[in-house]
Structure formats: C-alpha cells, structure tokens
Symmetry: C3
Subunit: 664 residues, 3 copies
C-alpha cells in the first residue's frame, strides 16, 4: 500500500532534504506528492525550464525507497503569467479581474492559460517520464467549478448553449424564456446569471453544468498529454468530495481512480465523522477504491485554525478511510510551512521540524497499514444500500432551495446515511442513472431533477423487487429545470401509491417565523416527532400510512410518511423532515426488514463498522470513535489482525481504538 | 364587482386557453390582468409589432364574459433592448450596469428607454383601444423608486436640484453644506449618495425625492398616451403599499384609482394581518377605494417559498380587503408557472393545471362577492381616526434612524394601529397635510420632518377640538432635513404642554448593549411597562403626566407620556416606546374617550371588524382570524348577508369564518 | 490648564458668535479647536484664499481670553478638488474611486493631493502665524491608515518594498514567496492584498506598515511647514487611541504631544470605561502627558446615536482623563450642528443653542480643573507595570488571528488591564522595544511578532529581576511574518521554563462548534475556571504549574499557567484564555507580590484610582463610577482638594463622585 505525505522540497533548504527522507523512511512512508504549486520553480521565466530542484529531491527520495506523485502546477499561476497575460485572470461579476496573489485565480476559458497549461504539463511529462520513482500524476489542485464572468467565458457559454440546443427555439422552449418575456432572439443575448436567486432556473442549471464542463475540459487537455507521454503512470485528482459546484463524476471519468482531501471539521470531537459519508461518495465517483491525497495531520486553517487531533485520532481517521475503500493515503503535510498563507495548516512535523507526537502516530499507522496490506489488497466495500446523489438536483436547488436552510448535501442526505451507519450497514452513494440492480435498497433524498427516463428507471427498480425510499421535492423538475406539469410525484405516483396536490415550506420567507407540525407514528413507526422545513400534503392512493399529522386540524387528512407495495418491491415516501433521529432509525429498520438486509452487527453508539471484501477475503473494521472504552458483540473465533488474537464473542476497544477482524 | 386572476396566455399552449377561460367563468371570474411582462411577444424585433397572441386570447375570454386589464410591459425589457441599447440598463454605485436577465433592470433617466416605453405604450393603446373587453390599464409593474447611478441620472438629478433651488447659494443653505466644508461651487459638483448613513442628510432627502419623482414622471409619460388614445379606459398601478422608496401618493395622483399587491408574509398564522393596515394605507393614497391587483393564491417566493394558505384562508384574506375598501380583486396568479423565476409563486391552479382546493375556495369567494356586490357598491370606509404617514419622514429617517432598529413603518405605526384594531375602530392613513377636520383623532408617529406650516396645521387642528397623539422624534427636521434650532417639540410645545431639552437612544451604538427603563402609569394609565429604543427626557409645561419613569434616579424628573388640554382639543405625547401592547390599549382607550369615539363593537382577540358605508348603506364586516370558533356580541335584528339570517345579540363564527351584517 | 470646546464658527451666523464667546468664557473655557473641516471657506476656489471668517471669529474669541488650535483642513476635500482632480480620490479594490460627499476620501499617494495639502497648510500657517490667540495646530483629522488601491499607491508600495529590501531575492526570502510558487521576478509584479485572509502574510504585514507610513509621511509634510512658519506653535493630532490600522507611535514622533478623541460607547453605564485603558495607551505614544481633543459632550452617532450622559457623568469622564495624564481637554462639540452628517453628534448645547444641563456640568468641570491646575501641573502617571502593545503583532494578527474572534486589542489586553485596574495599580502601555527597566512588571499579551532582539530584550529584563507575564501566541512570528522554526516559545523557552510542542484553537473553523476545557488551580491559584479560544499544550521544563487541565484525559499532562524563576526575575506564562476574571485577579495578585508592587489602596468594585505625581507633588484621584454611594479606605490626614477637607480613614463618595487627595 502506498502511504506517505505531501512534501514540498522547494520550501526547505536542500541540506534538510536528507533528514526529511530519512524520517519518512523510518515512519514507513513510501510515497510523496509534490510539485503542484511549483510552476515558478520549474518555469522561472516563460519558456525556460529548470527541473533540477525536483530531480535532486526525487533522487534523494528514491534512495529511501520513496515514490512520488507529481502535481501539474496550474492551480497557482506564477507572477510572470499574471503580469504578462492579464486575460488569464478570472473576472468577477463586477467586471474586475481577480487579483493575483492567491491561488486558483485563473479563467478556464482563457486560451492563453490553456496553452500555458498544456506547455508546462508537456514539459513536466517529458522531463519526468523516465524518472524511476515517479509513479503517477495529480492534475491541478481541488477543481471547484467556480465561475468566471469574462467575455471569453460568455462567448464560450453561448457556444456551449448553441452546441447543446442547436436552435434558439429549442433553447427558448427548454428554459421557458416566455416568462418575463425573456425570449432570446440572438445567441449573443444569452446572459450570465450573477447570483442564484433571480435568474431563469434553466439558465442557471446550464450555467452550472457549463462551468463544471469547462474544468473537466481543462483537465482533459492535461490528461491527454500525460497519457500520451507517460502511459505507464496513473493520473488522479484530489477532489473535495461534497463540494457542490462541479460534477466530480464527470471529472473522474478521465482518471484512473478518484482521490480526495479529508479535513474533518474540528470542533469538539464528533463521534460520527462526515468523513465516512464523504469517503462513500468519493468511492462512488468511479465505483471503485480511491486515495486520500491529503489526510488530516494537525490543526488546519488559513487565518484561524481548528482543534488539534487528540492522541489516537490521527490513526483513527486513517483507519476510517481504509475501512471505506481507501487504497493510498498521504498526510497533508509533512511539515508546517514557515511561510505563506498555509502556515497554520499544520503538518506531521511542526514549524520546528521535530518528529514529535503527530509524526509518531502517523508512523505507527503507516507501519500497521503496510503490515495489513496483504490482507486488504483487492478488497472493496460491497454495500447493500445505495443513496442517490445527483449533481443536477444540487445545481438546480442552489437556485431554488424551496425552503430556507435547505441543505440537501450532508444535512438532508445524512439523516438517512446516519441511520444506516447506526444500523451497521455499508452504503454506496451513486448517480440516479447507475445500475441499481445490485442494491436491495435505494434511497433518493430530494431527487429534485427527475427526467422521465430516470423516473421509469426507479419505477422499474421497484417493480423488480427493489425497495425505494423517496422524499420531499421528488421529481419537481425536468432536466432543463422546468416544473413538470404533472401532479406530484408525477411518474412515480403509482410506484409510491400517493398524490401530492399541495405542499408548503414551513420556514417562512421575508423574516416570517418558521413553523412546525407534530407527527405521530401510525403503523410500524411509533412515537411522536417534529416536522419542520417542508411539508407535502400527501393523499394516499393505496399506500400504507406509516406516520401522520396530529396537532393541526387542516393536516389531519394528510400522511407524513407512507409505504406502498408495487410489483415485487416497496416504495416509501417521507413528506417532511423530522427533527428526531429515532424516526429515521425506525424507518430504516422497517426498510431493511422489507429488503432482508442485516448488518454484520449493530454497533454501540459511536462505534463504526465497515466491511471490505473481495478476492476471497472479508474484513470487518470496527472503530471506537468515542472517548470511552467500548465492548462490541462480534463473531467469535475470528482472527483480529492488529492483535493477532482470535475473537471471543465480545471485543473490547479502548477509546479511539481499532480492530480489523478477518471474517474470511 | 370585478374579480378574477392575473393570467399569462403566453405561458401556455393555445390549446389550453379555452379550458382556462371555461374554468375562470365557472369560478365566477369576470376580469383578468395580462401583458405586463409580454413586451417581446408584442414587439419581437424593434419596431415590428405583433399582437395576435393577445387578440386571440382576448377573444376567447370575451366569449366567456371576461374583461381584461392590460399592463404596459416596461417592467421587463426584452433581450434585444438590452443588446442594442446598453444605456437602458441602470448602473450600480460601482459603475457597473445592472445585468440583463432579471426584471426591472432599467434606468429611468435613460432617454432611450423612455422613448422605447412611449412607443410600445402607444402601439398597445392604438391596437387595443377598441377591443371590447379591454377595460383598463396597469402601468409597468410595482414601481419601487430604486436609484440608478449612471451619468444620465447624475445630470438629471443636478438639473432637478437647479430647478428646485434656483441658485447654488439657496441649495447650500438648504442642505447646510457648510458642514465638512462641502459647499458646492458648481452644479455638476453635486454628488450622488451611495449609501444612506454617511452623506449630507439634505442631499439624501432630495435624492430620495428625485428618484421617486423620476418614476412618477416615467409613468406620467405612459398615462398621457393612454388618456389620449383610450379615454374610456381606466389607468391604475399595482403599488407595494408600505414599500418605502417611492411616494405612492404622487404616483397615484395621475391614476384613476390605486391598486396593490397583497402578500401577507406566511409564517405561522398571524391573527392580525399586516394586510389590514396596508389596505388602509393604499385606500389613503387617493382617499378612495382601491383594487387588489395581485391577491395571494398560494405559497409564494422566488428561491424559497412560504406557507400554504390553510382551508378557508384564501377566502378570509379576500374578505379582509373587501372590508377595507377593495372594489376589485385579482388573484396572482391563475396557474403556477412551469418556467421562469416565479415557478414557486403558486397560483390557484398548481403546475398540474387541475382545479383543486385553492381554485374551489377562490371560486366560492368570487360567487359570494358578486352576490354581495349590490349591497357593497358605493360604500367605503369612513374612519374617525387618522394615522399620519409621511414620505419625507420615511426618506429622511432611512438616513438617520436616530436609534438602531427604528422601524417607523409598520412596527412603530402598528403599535397605535393595532390598539385601534383591537378597539374595533377603523383607521385612515393619510398625509400630514391632508384635511384633518373630518377626524376626531389624529395620530402622528415619529413625524420627523415637520415644516412649520404642517406644525401650525396640527396645532390648529387641536385648537379647534381635535385630539392629537404625537411621539418621539416629532418635528426634528425641516423640509430640507436640517435640524430645527428650537427646543423640541418646537412649534408644538404649547399644544403638547411639554419641552424636551435632552433625549437619548437606548439601543446603544458600535455594539454597545441596549438598555431599558421601567415606566409606570401615573394617571389614567395603570401598570408597569418597559421602555426601549428611545427616551425623550420630557419636562411637562402644563401637561398631565400619564406615565413616568420609576427605576432610575436620573429619569425620575421626567415624564414618559403626557396629555395636555389645548384650545378645544387635546395633545398627547409619548416619549418612548413601550414593549407592552397594554400600554397602547390604555392610551388609545383614553384618547378615544376624550374624542368621543366608540367602535361599533369591541371584538374578541383575533376577530377583526370593519365598516363600509355610503350611499345610504352601512355594512359591518366581522372576520374570525383565529383557528377557534368565536362568539361576538353584535347588534341584533340585522340581516347577515351571507347566511341571510337576522342576527341575535350574539353571533358565532367558525374558524376563519366571516359575517357581513347589514346595519343600514 | 487649557480647557474648552471644538467650535465651528462657519456653522453659525456671525450674529451668534458673540453669544457663543460669552457663554464659553462664563463656562471657564479658554481654548477652542477650529478649522479642520473648513478648507472650502479658506480656499473657496483654487489658489484664492480668504481667511476673513476665521480672523473675525478669532478676534471675538481673543476678546474673551480664548485661545485657538487650528486644524489643517485636509481631512475633507472641497468639492472643487474632487471635480478638478479625480486622482485625489482613493480607489477601492474594485477599481472604483471613492465617491466624494463624505470626509476622508483622499488617496495619500496622490501627488496632486499632497501638493494641495502643502499649499493650504502653508497659506494657513503664513496667515495665522502672528494671530495672538492662535497657540497650536492639529494636523488633518483622525488618521486611520485605511488603504487605497490606485496605481499610484501600487507603484508607491513597490518602491517602498524596493527601498526596504534592496533586492528581489531579499524580498522573496523575507516573505517566503516559495509558498504557492509566488516568487517575484520583477518589482512591478508585487500585488496589493485585497483582503486579509488569503494573501501572503509577509506581504500583508508590509502592506499594513506601508499604509501607516504613508499617512505619517503625509503628516510630516504638513508638520515641516508648520515648524518652519510657526515655530512658536505646538503641533498635535487627534488620534483614535486603539484604532488598529496605523502606528500612532510613529505618527506622534513628529508631534509635540499626542491627543485623542474620547467617545466611550454608551450602552448601559459601564463601570470600567474603556477610556482609562485608552488614555494609558495614548499617554504611551510619546510616554508623556496628552490632550483630549474631542471629549464626549452628549449622545453621538451618524445615523443612530447612543445614550445621553447621565447627570454627573460628563464631569466624571473628564476627571478620569485628568487622572490618567490629560493636560488639555476640549469637548466635542460646542453645539449640535443643525446641518450635515453629524447632526446627532450632540454638543454641550443642543440644536437650540441654549446653555442647559450638559453645558452647566462642563462649566462646573472647567472651573474645578482650572482651580486644581496649580496642584496638577507638572505631574504625570508613573506606573509600576507596563503592558506591551505592538503594532506589528496587531497588523499581522489581522491577517492570521489563529482563532475565531481573537480580539487582541482591548478584549485580550483588557483581561490583564482590568485585573490591575481592580487592584488599584497604574499601568503604562508601551512598545516591546521600550526601556523596561523602570517597570517592576511587564505583561506581554499575545506578543505574536517577536524579533530575536526583542526576545533577548525580554529575557534580559527577567534575568535582571523583572517579572514578565506572557501568554498564547508568544513569539510565533519573525519581523516579516514568517513562522519561527523553533519550538515555542522559542528564545523565551528558558526564561519561562516551558516548551509548547503542540497547540490548538478551541473555536473551531468552518462553522464547527467551539469547545472549552476546565482549568483548575494547582499552586498559588485556587478554584476552577473555563478555558476557551485557544490552548497551548504546555510541557513544563522547570516551571511551577499554577493551573492545569482537569476534565479531559488528553490535556492532563499539560499545564495551563506556569511561573518560572529565571535569574533574578520571574517568567509567567498563561497558555489559554480564562472566562473568569477571578483567574486574572489571582494571577495578578501573585505577580504583584513577586514584584513587590502594591497599589495605594484597593478600591471597591466600580471605583477607580489613579495617581499623578512629579515636581514634588503626588495626587490620588478617586472616581466612583457606580450609581451607588461608595466608601473607600484612604490615607487619613490628607487634603482632599475639591472639598478642601482633610481626609479621615474613610472617604465617602456619592454616585459618580470624584475626590482628589493630595498625598504630597
């Protein structure tokens, strides 16, 4: 297994490099990433290349059996690019170019920048193609889909629209430009939406897609060169998992595997890291294992920073990723920079360069991982449940969230994810168009944009025996962000056995106070719950009412959650948001029962389980994410790989402790 | 009575129009508004007109006995206007033109835009002048007084100043430009204030007046054409009632009657709608009955939306407007758009186009209204009490609110309004310069800008027997926003029997915590209250002290509320803001007693009463705005028009129920 | 003693001037400041001067024995400057010039503006050099160090960098531009940081220094002229004390004495005014007595204003400044303006011009001060304790506060200051490079930027017997905002007897919830406290542990506060922030005991004491800042100068009462 650090030799005097390499080797590290911000060191003046600094560093690393991933350095343009080519800078809606002096200030439509990018990529590829310890590439750094408003982007977007729609009539129909009389009579009239809440929703959705596409194209130009010159190297990119402005599935389609940067937000310890959910998302980008290209090594932040990982936590965070399908891991970064904006993004070493506690913990982890690797290699997560995650819905809801504080990503999706997590069931996070036949359960939170083909796909999934859980805002929009003109939930009405003639936001607008309703379990769900945010006024058309409204006369006729037998499967619908996690636990319990899914074990609160399997192997990871010792009922007589002991019926883990049980 | 919907035939296929017209007719509707965002459909290219779409739609409507109000379409410019005439776009303070793609992006100084506006207005007027079912016009859409900072507006404002003041000396004196040495030596030095809290207050006030004037002029150009070409049509405009940036009285002076758009903010149900107060304001714009041009039909909002009207609420909201002087009403809108930014501004029909609950409720209301109309026609509200609402004071206070969170409009005015509402007394909301002789009571909340003539007008009103209630910030400013150099309350000191040598804000500035004082009733007011926001240090000069301060040694010498006999009338003054509505109930009780005003009846909490009278008729509207059944003591032996029954001494209304009692 | 008001004769008709002068004289006033916003009156057109208005006003004042300080009027440019010389206006980061119409809109790099400034300064100086009652000058008004982003400033900053660093290599090393590959290859590539949290920290720190330097230079040009033409006049400037964006020590180096504008924020009464601490800071600008050029006369604010001073409070605020070293005082202002943006910055007279309560209170104060002056003259504050206040640290932390809501200025410094205040001990606030040998105790809160020389300076101070109290973020940065590459606290590790290998913010970032730790006293501090904001993980290397962590297993090995014997002195270190003032009271108690410092007396809560001494005199000021009568144990048999009585062992002061006890 490749495990190591992000390393910046250009930050430190050459005299230090040997010490660094030696400490890395002692830590069990065998890979570094480097170069992704070093353009000016490799091309100090336009067209003059100098790779000697990296040649020397790579040579020292090679002597310590450390391989390297090289970053194309286009995430931060040199000062000379900014000075010589002002059109490389992105433009803000106020028509001002972004100021040079921070990273990622470039426009992706700029022909100049694309040419400069291709040239440095080719120069690097040619230079390093035969360097023995170079094994792969990272493109640029953390593509984010952020838009630029320059004339070049405007023309590019207008061309993109013409290529997509062919005729203005088609575009006018697709976007519904009859509203406000905003019909286009010329391609160059197409406007760029400056903010999300005022423009045509179809325009907005395509603008988001265009900006995502633009960065995918930019990467593709680099990938093409790398494939051509370095066919034996892998190519990946460090995504930001749930970052909502770029379609990472499209981006990763051109790559060998997905990677991501893992920075759990450090406030007080959180027993259920976002990072598990994010890892499942990233694994879904290509539906295969992934790397963590930047792994938390200490407190992080640009101006203010956060909490320090507690003793044991660096190891725990690393094991969590391994458990979810990580096959390569690099801590960011080796040593806290003494210069620049990320002085407070702390490394395994502090500013003082001493191998202290964080270093030692990472070293322990690296040695363990490499020892475990023969057991882990070739395995992955095979989840019985899929959650659908749809970029079109995310893009469209940014412009029309329907209710205030509608946080589809994480908050909303997490209500279901966390209940499955508590149930000890692994989850895949995939596109609605994915092959769903492998899943016993499919959950579709706020599947807002729903082309007819996808609706049929889901209906068919249920008909053949699948269990579908859908909820609010299902199928509101077409693929061009028009509202469907069918009574909700449209084509899935039969599958779910309901109609929704009216609905409402409960958050109020224009400063009005939010309201809540009381929900009570009626069948297979018991207890009283609090509905907030949004409420469908659901009329069952055959569905069982699992929960209804109990405190308001006008809501009494309507269902809050339903279940419907459709073909060989089941269609569930939740028409509001419940404040209490217990609601989701009961719901998911019922869903899993209907789908005949059981977790390996049901862990205590704060203990995470995940299974990797494949190639005849099956490993159960158990992570105690609490500050207390925990005892977990486990299959007995199995080998726990870290201790080498056989399990009894109960296994006790210290705080932040980890076990890896070999089930097969 | 005209009752109907806002309808956009250009949104729907022609095949649907007949269905729509039939459903409207069945609902009892007899009027639509249309066309106000359809410029591009009527003038698809510059100078080429095509009204066929509307001709066809009007013809179908005519066959169903439905009349039409046409909107001049200048509230949303076509894409070709933006493309060909960049100077039509308003400019932001950062010198960037507003981006095309949302509505109302035009500059009102632009000669180009004014010419385009006149041309399309004339073309429409000429085309539709003889269309039988066209009965009137709405100008543009929701004029808002928002400013533009382009060179044309700058020159226009400088000209406006020259026309107003004649000489720079006069302007320098009027604005007091000696402060900060900001004296003007040339007309073209006059600056445009970019934000409200830093510039010369006189400049600010005139800048607000100018922007209001500019839009009034813009409308006048359209009205002139419509009067000339269509002398038999009425002309109105859909104002936004309390919107503070345009003087709607000036705007309505050119119109046949005022209209407004009624969207009560939907959080949890609010028993006392802002909408009653807003209706009284709109009725005051021309001191005659008004229309509701857009009436709430469902949840509304652009990105997020609000609550759905509960069963009975659509009808209740409509009756409230009728009770306050509404003579025509159109729901916005017929059917929720499937395209564009207002997809979530829901209509009587949903996106699915089915005539469901909201449609049925509106239909019931329309049928009732049309049946009631013979009894209602010719009546209006004759209120014994006036609240003064002064645009100059609003404009000036925007720049100098005196204390943080000073919300003159609604919040502050509403303290008095709501007490009168609870007392069952109708209210007019009028200008300080209005004829006050018809009112027994005049309330002047924060009458901040007070020209001497207006002060004399109020003093005279009291002298002749009127009851005046004034409060904090009374008469601070001259008509050019200089501070009067008299001890407060200046010319009204004798009328009110007080002087105010010092005063203070209680809200703190620069993040300091706000403070409060305790107030205790002394005479004709009893109990303990909480003063916040602002405190005058009132020294009585003959006035009775109704309430004083009780918890702070330094405030003990001062009065909190006073009453003074002056001539044949009474002058009340409230020197702070009280948190408790009970204070205002007692105060208003005393005021009404002194003025010999009694309501028809005192309603239970949450029940609204309003009286329309005239032409020998007198109708008592009773609205139960609560979710519980309510019993109200009413005059007995009168005909309740909805049930047709004679009243007993008590009348019981179900939740959201309405009664219309014919008193004469 | 000079005591008086800020007076604007150009605001009032000439007929009023005599009344004003007579009222001033009756109040005991003998000085005014004038002219600082009157440029347009003195130079109504470019190059045409007219000082007649001020000549007349000065003559009337002279007849009433009132002297004058003249302000150079460059704080507010005339309209003709803005019109004729657009390049005089500062530019915002969006490339738009600041709009004329408020004050202080100029660019300080503009050659045009500097020439205009020199010309009006020279014209004034020449004109008034022999006016008998002109005694001194105030430069401009409230320099604030705010930046401009115009091309001239950019070139000026690049030149400043070249002058400072000589070579690009030196600059690249100093700023550490290897990070993100942002190495400069040409001087004109140097960028201007548009906001504080994204750019290179070294660039940021120098940009802040440059902007401070730029305004110091601007003032220097005026001072040079005033010194040359009016050698017998003093020159000062009205600083804003803790305003963080300009190095007021540098600014005051060119002046005869420092002045400041004192506006305690008026929310509810605050018993410990910020104003004491601010006065101690201003006294430290030149380590000599100072003036209050604008003293609170009433409620203040531009749009909203604050609380009115209560009876006795105007006098109390004035005595507090006298007690802290004020030698001249002018109330801002004489009379509330009836025009302009500061209508609500109330004066001793209100808009009505009547000599009411605030006037009478100021008059009483002035008469008392002038009577006291023979006893006060020649005395100053001689504090045994210094708090270090470092502009470099402030500038650098603005860009990297380390933790959210890190308010170094006031909040953090005030924890120590207030404990000393409560202990009745006077404090100096000085630069880290000041001569510290005069202080028994030196407190260094968040001394973030610590050049090696300063570290040695502090270590030497302790070695020789001083008591040093340092805390979090000590010595993180070099003078160019690189991180030191030593284990914290670096060169002071031996002095403090500790090392800090790790540390963390407790506030979280990216919306994570903040956390807290429990701290418990271990030695010479007792009780339980709450740590928040930040935590060093301190390992003692010889230091005593005064307090440690008690609620978290992982913090148990670490100290929260330490004390170490080093040479003849003591080094204290506090590794977190404690919510409870009692912690700081105990800490300061221990520190003062070790340093053998005792206050004259320990005052009751809310009573302030301060001592002025010198020239053989010693005066104890006692101020009751509470609303209750207070009894204070004082040295008996001393003369209390206001009453003329000899003290007993206890002295009773009414609310807001003041005593001045002559100790020698």
């Amino acid at each position: 297994m490749r495990i190591g650090v992000d390393y910046y030799p250009e930050h430190w005097p050459k005299e230090r490099w040997l010490t660094d390499a030696r400490l890395m080797k002692e830590a069990g590290f065998n890979v570094v990433r480097m170069g992704e911000f070093a353009w000016v060191f490799m091309e100090p003046e336009e067209g003059r290349y100098d790779f000697s600094l990296f040649d020397e560093a790579l040579e020292i690393l090679a002597r310590h059996d450390i391989a390297a991933i090289l970053g194309t350095p286009t995430g931060s343009m040199p000062a000379w690019v900014a000075r010589k080519y002002p059109d490389c800078a992105a433009m803000k809606p106020d028509r001002q170019r972004r100021n040079w002096g921070i990273r990622k200030t470039n426009c992706f439509s700029s022909g100049t920048y694309r040419l400069l990018s291709e040239r440095i990529t080719r120069a690097m590829a040619e230079h390093f193609k035969n360097t023995p310890n170079v094994i792969g590439w990272q493109t640029d750094n953390e593509f984010d889909g952020n838009p630029c408003y320059c004339d070049s982007c405007r023309a590019n977007f207008q061309d993109w629209c013409r290529a997509k729609y062919g005729t203005l009539d088609a575009l006018n129909r697709a976007w519904g430009t009859h509203f406000w009389g905003h019909r286009y009579g010329a391609w160059n009239e197409i406007t760029l939406p400056e903010e999300q809440h005022s423009y045509n929703p179809g325009l907005w959705l395509d603008w988001k897609r265009f900006n995502s596409w633009l960065q995918v194209q930019f990467q593709r130009d680099q990938v093409r060169i790398l494939r051509e010159v370095c066919p034996h190297h892998f190519v990946t990119h460090n995504t930001m998992s749930f970052h909502p402005s770029i379609n990472y599935r499209d981006l990763c389609a051109d790559l060998d595997f997905a990677s991501w940067d893992n920075y759990p937000v450090f406030g007080p310890p959180q027993i259920l890291y976002n990072a598990a959910c994010a890892a499942d998302l990233v694994r879904g980008f290509k539906q295969k294992n992934f790397w963590v290209m930047e792994q938390t090594a200490g407190p992080g932040g640009w101006g203010a920073f956060g909490r320090n990982p507690w003793p044991g936590e660096i190891r725990l965070i690393a094991y969590q990723q391994l458990a979810h399908g990580c096959d390569g891991m690099l801590w960011f970064n080796w040593r806290a920079c003494t210069a620049g904006r990320e002085q407070y993004w702390h490394g395994l070493l502090g500013h003082d360069g001493l191998p202290l506690r964080r270093y030692r913990e990472a070293a322990q982890t690296a040695h363990e991982f490499r020892k475990l690797w023969p057991e882990v290699e070739g395995t992955t997560v095979r989840a019985p449940v899929a959650i659908l995650y749809d970029y079109d819905s995310i893009f469209a809801q940014e412009s029309q969230p329907s209710f205030e504080n509608n946080t589809y990503i994480q908050d909303h999706l997490r209500r279901y994810y966390d209940a499955l997590f508590r149930a000890g069931v692994n989850v895949d996070i995939v596109a609605p168009t994915a092959d769903l036949s492998r899943y016993a359960v499919v959950i579709a939170p706020q599947l807002y944009v729903l082309p007819d083909a996808t609706a049929h796909h889901l209906a068919e999934y249920v008909r053949k025996g699948g269990v579908l859980v859908a909820d609010i805002r299902l199928g509101v929009k077409t693929e061009t962000s028009l509202c469907h003109d069918r009574t909700l939930p449209g084509l899935l009405s039969d599958t779910l056995g309901i109609v929704i003639e009216e609905y409402e936001s409960l958050t109020g607008i224009w400063g009005a106070k939010p309201s809540e309703y009381r929900v009570v379990g009626r069948r297979d769900i018991s207890g009283t719950f609090t509905a907030f945010g949004f409420a469908d006024w659901i009329t069952p058309r055959g569905a069982d009412v699992l929960a209804g409204y109990s405190d308001r006369w006008h809501m009494e006729p309507f269902a809050a959650a339903t279940r419907h037998r459709s073909g060989n499967g089941w269609g569930y619908y939740v028409g509001t948001i419940l404040r209490e996690p217990e609601f989701y636990d009961q719901l998911i319990g019922d869903v899993l029962a209907k789908a005949n899914v059981t977790g390996i074990l049901r862990p205590p609160v704060g203990v995470e389980v995940s299974v990797r399997e494949g190639a005849g192997k099956k490993l159960l990871f158990i992570l105690n994410e609490t500050e207390q010792e925990q005892t977990i009922a486990v299959p007995s007589g199995k080998r726990e790989l870290l201790s080498g002991q056989l399990t009894e019926s109960k296994l006790t883990l210290p705080r932040f402790g980890v076990a890896v049980v070999k089930l097969a």
